[in-house]
């Protein structure tokens, strides 16, 4: 029951995030969506991932969004869609429909028990070494991105 509630809240947040006109509110709705995803992850038995999602997805990314939107200025988004809405709807329904048709029948009602979960750290460090290296590289890229953002805002302050 609680799963269903969280799912509904999650999707409402997502829809709001792309519906609202003000970018700042959109970022906040995104944070809400992220929090709901984190809750769902917790319910699924992945508390570590949930915490990371909550802190990074709902926290850090939102801060960055607010930061960037401040620099850019909350310009009024164009309401006119990029491609005709009919085509957009058709494509979305088609792709989601196919995915649903393929996936939903495979799901049984029971989830296997969390009988024996190995330590998250051992799996990550032994089996998924490549992932860790990739993450390090990505974080490095991210740091450079943040530096770019900050240096730009400083340049703007100087100009003013």
């Amino acid at each position: 029951m609680i799963n269903a509630l969280v799912a509904v809240a999650m999707i409402i947040c997502a829809i709001q995030a792309i519906r609202v006109k003000k970018l700042l509110s959109a970022a906040l709705w995104l944070a809400g969506c992220s929090a709901m995803v984190a809750l769902m992850l917790y319910l699924l038995g992945a508390p570590e991932i949930a915490v990371i999602e909550l802190s990074v997805g709902a926290g850090l990314v939102t801060v960055l969004f607010v930061f960037a939107i401040n620099i850019i200025g909350d310009e009024k988004p164009v309401t006119e869609p990029g491609i005709p809405p009919l085509i957009a709807w058709a494509l979305v329904i088609l792709s989601i429909g196919i995915l649903a048709y393929l996936n939903l029948p495979l799901l049984s009602e029971v989830i296997p028990d969390l009988a024996e979960i190995p330590m998250a750290s051992t799996t990550i460090w032994t089996d998924r070494m490549l992932d860790v290296i990739l993450q390090i590289v990505l974080i490095f890229v991210g740091v450079m991105g943040v530096i770019n953002l900050i240096s730009d805002s400083k340049a703007k302050e100087k100009n003013q």
């Binding site: 990029g82 491609i83 957009a88 494509l91 792709s95």
Partner: protein, 581 residues
């Protein structure tokens, strides 16, 4: 050992490419030094690789179900071509220190050269046909970028685009071959097919054979795709020496030689190969007779000599063709680099404006004449031995009329070679201020000149290298002495020498033969228009560009449409998976 060396050969040149580009054009001295260091290191690794040649797979990277195993094999054919690519590559880089001194965009130049060297080594060392296609395209890309190096010159850009389009369209033949191989055997490894061509459906095998012939003809500038090579002469001269004489254009010959055991039995394939080689050799020799641009003469003669190699493959003379490839790489790189020294000094490529340079450029004259004699097939230079072997292969394995035409071509070769040497170094001296080759140029020219004189001594070791590592190619081991005796004893040698001498004499007596040359004036006009094939090639290039221009409309540049395209692709892939699964 061999696996490390292969990685070093490819990796060092690519690492060098990155570093040279990264250093930046402001530190040009460092760029020269880095380029020399990495190309020479890669050359050393490839020479070490020759002593580790074997027919077994030495590197095997699993690249998943779609791409198969990325395999590298250090067999005789591969290691010696890799050695040619890297050694002549490093000599061209050394030559560039003087030739490209003070040019803008050195980083781009050296990065592309080093990227090319690595790509070429990879092309000949891999045994995965898909990977080979990838390297094939890398070399084509570098060739394009370097032909169009002076990108403010519309002629250079047009030449680059032409080379790119023609070789790419030919490359489709190779891709088709790779896909056929995959569909039939479930892997891209071509060695199993070469060992046992029967595993492929005969009709598909014939499609593959002719696809590879088209790819090879486009890459090696053979009939009917040969007109891109003369236009590629807009490239800086070391590039012409490296890419358009010694290495990349050999890729087509390599491809045919590599697959010869598999395609041998395909009906009509051998005769097609003989025809392609013969027509290219003959008509480009005629075009070389009438050209006045020094580099264009060399380009036509490259096409002609490549025609000899293709012809030899068609006649079953794999060893002869590869030996001629080795000789040709050495003497043609020598000729091109010598021509580079001349052009650098005189400032023009038109031979009519040269003349009498011999006195002022004694070193260049010396090495250039060695190269020219080797090209003409004068004993005892390397070109003589290998050309005799090719002609002998033609006599034993090919039709007589083709042999006769190749003989005539040998005479023509001698004729245009002497015309070229005469126009450049002798005759009426021009009043220009001329300097001889600069130090780095000499460093690059001297080993090549030495190579043109003594490389034929390697005939025996070369034969045993090929024989021991290429079980399917049916190459007979022979010592250098046996090769020499074979060539000297064969009556064909003397026929060929007589024809070459005839070519020489007719150049000597050109004043007395003025009537004949007048009678052939019409031929000159046609030859300057590349016998009409220029129009065919231009048509291909124009149509490709027009199609591309029309396809531009599908690129809206709007992100939303691109996402829509992605989604449609996703839906299509899922539907195919569901249907197929």
């Amino acid at each position: 050992m061999a696996s490390t060396l292969i990685l070093l050969v490819i990796g060092l040149s690519w690492l060098g490419a990155l570093l040279v580009w990264w250093v930046g054009d402001k530190r040009s001295a460092l760029q020269h030094a880095l380029a020399i260091f990495f190309s020479v290191a890669s050359g050393a690794a490839s020479i070490a690789l020759i002593f580790n040649a074997s027919s077994s797979t030495v590197i095997n990277l699993d690249a998943g179900g779609v791409f198969g195993q990325f395999t590298f094999v250090a067999d005789g054919l591969g290691v010696y071509l890799a050695a040619i690519a890297t050694v002549i590559g490093s000599l061209a880089v050394i030559f560039s220190v003087n030739y490209m001194h003070g040019e803008k965009g050195l980083g781009r130049y050296y990065a592309m050269v080093l990227f090319f060297i690595g790509g070429m080594a990879g092309l000949v060392l891999t045994s995965n046909l898909l990977l080979m296609f990838l390297f094939w395209e890398i070399t084509a890309l570098c060739s394009y970028a370097l032909i169009a190096f002076h990108n403010d010159d519309p002629k250079a850009v047009a030449g680059g685009i032409k080379a790119l389009i023609i070789t790419q369209l030919g490359g489709i033949g190779l891709l088709a071959g790779a896909l056929i191989l995959y569909s039939q055997t479930g892997s891209y490894d071509f060695n199993q097919m070469i060992a046992n061509p029967g595993i492929i459906n005969p009709r598909l095998l014939s499609g593959m054979a002719f696809g590879c012939l088209i790819a090879a003809a486009a890459k090696s500038a053979q009939f009917p795709f040969f007109t891109w090579l003369p236009d590629a002469m807009e490239a800086p001269t070391p590039i012409s020496a490296l890419i358009h004489a010694a290495t990349m254009v050999n890729a087509g010959v390599y491809l045919l030689a590599r697959f010869y055991p598999a395609f041998e039995a395909v009906p009509g394939w051998k005769i097609s190969v003989i025809l392609v080689g013969m027509i290219s050799a003959f008509i480009s020799a005629i075009m070389a007779l009438f050209a006045n641009d020094l580099k264009r003469v060399l380009a036509y003669s490259t096409i002609s000599q490549l025609g000899y190699m293709v012809f030899a493959i068609g006649c079953g003379g794999i060893y002869a063709s590869q030996f001629h490839l080795l000789s040709h790489s050495v003497f043609k790189a020598l000729l091109f680099l010598g021509a580079g020294a001349i052009i650098h000094s005189v400032g023009t490529r038109d031979m009519r404006e040269m003349g009498g340079l011999g006195k002022k450029m004694p070193f260049t004259r010396f090495v250039f004449i060695i190269g020219a004699l080797a090209l003409a097939g004068i004993p005892i230079l390397n070109g003589f031995w290998s050309k005799e072997l090719v002609l002998e292969a033609g006599l034993t394995g090919g039709p007589v009329w083709a042999y006769a035409i190749m003989l005539i071509t040998a005479g023509l070769t001698a004729f245009y070679t002497f015309r070229m040497v005469w126009m450049v170094f002798y005759g009426k001296p021009s009043e220009k201020h001329i300097h001889d080759a600069q130090p780095a140029m000499k460093v690059a020219l001297a080993p090549l000149a030495l190579g043109a004189v003594v490389a034929w001594l390697l005939a025996g070791p070369f034969a045993s290298l090929l024989q021991s590592t290429l079980p399917a190619h049916n190459i007979h081991p022979a010592s250098t002495m046996e090769v020499i005796v074979e060539v000297i004893k064969a009556p064909a040698t003397y026929v060929a020498l007589a024809v070459v001498a005839l070519g020489l004499v007719s150049w000597w007596q050109r004043e007395n033969l003025a009537g004949v040359s007048k009678a052939f004036k019409w031929l000159g006009t046609i030859a300057e228009n590349s016998f009409g094939f220029e129009a065919v090639n231009k048509f291909i290039v124009r149509e490709t560009q027009a199609t591309a221009e029309e396809l531009r409309d599908t690129q809206t540049g709007l992100l939303n449409w691109n996402i829509a395209g992605l989604l449609i692709g996703l839906i299509a892939v899922i539907i195919i998976l569901v249907m197929g699964g």
